[in-house]
Symmetry: C2
Amino acid sequence: MTDLDGLDRNILAELARDARQSTQALARKFGVSQPVAWRRVKRLQEAGVIAGRRLALDADKLGYGVTVFLGVKLATKGRVSLQDFETAVSAIPEVQTVEHVLGLYDYRLRVVARDIPDFERILRRRIMTLPGAGEVEANVLLSEERRPGPLG
Amino acid sequence: MTDLDGLDRNILAELARDARQSTQALARKFGVSQPVAWRRVKRLQEAGVIAGRRLALDADKLGYGVTVFLGVKLATKGRVSLQDFETAVSAIPEVQTVEHVLGLYDYRLRVVARDIPDFERILRRRIMTLPGAGEVEANVLLSEERRPGPLG
DNA sequence: CTTGAAAAGAACTGCCT
DNA sequence: AGGCAGTTCTTTTCAAG
């Protein structure tokens, strides 16, 4: 863990909202000089607190109108099967996130599809055939709100 | 939906990997001039395909070592209760995403906490007391892999 | 820790094929 | 649509209070 003062948190909060703003804009917002804001950002990057900058893509505009969350239980939980499962699932392009979790399910997958028939195809031909896949539960995304989190 | 050619898809794939690279770097990678790469990016932004650029933060380095996914069933599903629930849940800083879903659960929440005792506190005092909250299921995140998705 | 300045690089514009 | 050349702005480094 890294320790951050108020300025660091303010900067993170602003950049979390829009990672494209200039260090000068940040500097003005928080009443410091531009090089100071720049050093803070650099420091946060080097410390790994800022792990990278990613695009927020609009799945709908890309033709992917359906997002489904799948909870997957493995039928066989031998040592190899976790790795086998992860490797196989990584080869499915429609899978956006693979979360290894502890609880009622073993994995949670975020899957996108063009429409419901497309999702059925992915489910039957790609998901159900995954090595070790047992019970599968699905939740269809209706709407989603992302929030900055407690970080700052 | 927007239609994209190969260059658009290549650019999106590269920017999805690292949103910080320059249009010149993109131009070189795909054998076009810098202004062309720049115009493509601008067009994708204006079309809303690129919705924004966000920071990838390292929760661990910020002192949040525990991430939990909660599936929540509402006890009462009147018209108002959805809105009430969403408003109340939005006031909990540790909630990073609120997903309204269709299926076994009504909402999926991504919650971060400093450690397990901290998570218990959030669960008991904030989550269980949400208006309309019924059954709650939890999955603790062990590891996570994010992938570009099928877009490009 | 700040300011101010300068060099390098990236973003943006206009004009041409 | 794509390319070239130039202008503007941001980032990055540095000297100095």
